[in-house]
Symmetry: C2
Subunit: 104 residues, 2 copies
């Protein structure tokens, strides 16, 4: 079973990436998959959750703000970020501090 | 066009609700729709984004932690929360402080 990310006790950090895609693929699918694989190898990466219907939401979880900043500056990630307007009509990135968590 | 939530300048708060559904509906669809409508009327509600594939992610945005706490205790919402195990195999709720936001 796919499941929510297994994250540690808060506090930790989350990046909520909300987007609406353009109609054309232009290598999007492959790049998106590559970015998840690459992010997963970064120091401080804690997990990722993703779903898309009309809107896409990807939430990645991180141990620190520094880990998020380092991933944002990764050279392969920067190249992908440079193509954002090919792939997205609009997007928002929200960087958050996770203060509490519960569930079953 | 559907679009990301139009949120104010940070800081504000986000509740990331990540879930995996059970197979049966049991009134889930109607209740989920009703909860979004009801949440939207709460003081301090700023917006909501939602998508579901293998996993479901709903992010609601709020002006304060107090607004989140009040919504959690809403009587109709409590009744829905009481049915969580009918509708979800697993879920996580993460309460976050949004510290910065960007996008286009």
């Amino acid at each position: 079973m796919v499941s929510p990310a297994q994250t540690p006790q808060p506090p930790y950090f989350a990046v909520i990436f909300t987007s609406v895609r353009t109609d054309s693929d232009n290598g999007y699918g492959e790049t998106a998959k590559q970015m998840v694989e690459l992010a997963s190898k970064q120091p401080g990466f804690l997990g990722v959750e993703s779903a898309r219907q009309e809107i896409g939401i990807t939430v990645s979880y991180w141990a620190s703000q520094e880990a998020i900043a380092a991933w944002k500056e990764d050279i392969t990630h920067l190249q992908a970020q440079g193509r954002a307007k090919e792939w997205y009509q609009t997007f928002r990135v929200r960087v958050c501090r996770v203060e509490r968590e519960y569930g079953f």
